[in-house]
Symmetry: C2
Subunit: 109 residues, 2 copies
C-alpha cells in the first residue's frame, strides 16, 4: 500500500502517543502482523488498527496485506522528516551562538 | 525559571502544532519577548502565552522574566530528547537490516 505524503504535523502528532511509540519499538525489531502487535501491548485489535492507521498516514509505518494477514513494518521516510526538521532548527541556533561567540572574542581583543 | 523534566510524550505533542513550530523557528534566530512573538504570528498574546507554556513544559523553550518583560529562548534539552528517541529506533532497524543483508550474502555463498 502506498503511503501518502505525510505532513510534519502528522509525524510529530503520531509520535506523541506512548502506545504508538511502543508499536514503533516493536516494528524496529522487524515486521509484525497487526494481530501479533495487539498481544504484547495488551490492547484490543481495534485499537491497534486505529494506531497503525495513524502511523501509516504519517508515513512512519507501511502495511502490506497478503491473504488475510496485514503485516506492518517501519517506513523510514517519516522519521527522516522529523529528524530533518529538528536538525534544520538546530543548525540555525548553533550558527547564531557561533556568531555570538565570535563577537565576544572580537570585543575581548 | 527552571524547566521541569519533560517527557517524550510532551516533546512530540508540543512539536505537532504548526504555531508552536513557528515560535521555535523564530526563537532559533535568537531570544524574543512574548509580546514580540505575537505580532508576526498574527495571534493573540493570550494564545502565544499558552503555546509558550506548552513549549516550556516540554523542555523545548525556556523563559526569563526581567522587570515586566518575559523573554523566550530555545532550550536544546527537549530537542535532544526527541532526536535521541528517533536515532535509537533507527539504529535498531538498521542493525536488523544489516543482519538480513549478511544472511542473504551467506545464503548466496
Amino acid at each position: 500500500m502506498i503511503t501518502q505524503r505525510a505532513s510534519i504535523d502528522q509525524v510529530f502528532h503520531a509520535l506523541g502517543d506512548a502506545t504508538r511509540r511502543a508499536i514503533i519499538e516493536k516494528l524496529s525489531e522487524g515486521p509484525v502482523s497487526v494481530s501479533m502487535l495487539a498481544k504484547p501491548l495488551n490492547i484490543t485489535l481495534a485499537a491497534v488498527v486505529q494506531h497503525v492507521q495513524v502511523l501509516q498516514e504519517s508515513g512512519l509505518v507501511r502495511t502490506e496485506k497478503v491473504g488475510r494477514v496485514r503485516t506492518c513494518s517501519i517506513e523510514p521516510a517519516g522519521f527522516s522528516l522529523a529528524e530533518r526538521w529538528i536538525s534544520d532548527r538546530r543548525s540555525l541556533w548553533e550558527r547564531r551562538l557561533d556568531r555570538l561567540g565570535d563577537l565576544l572574542a572580537e570585543t575581548e581583543e
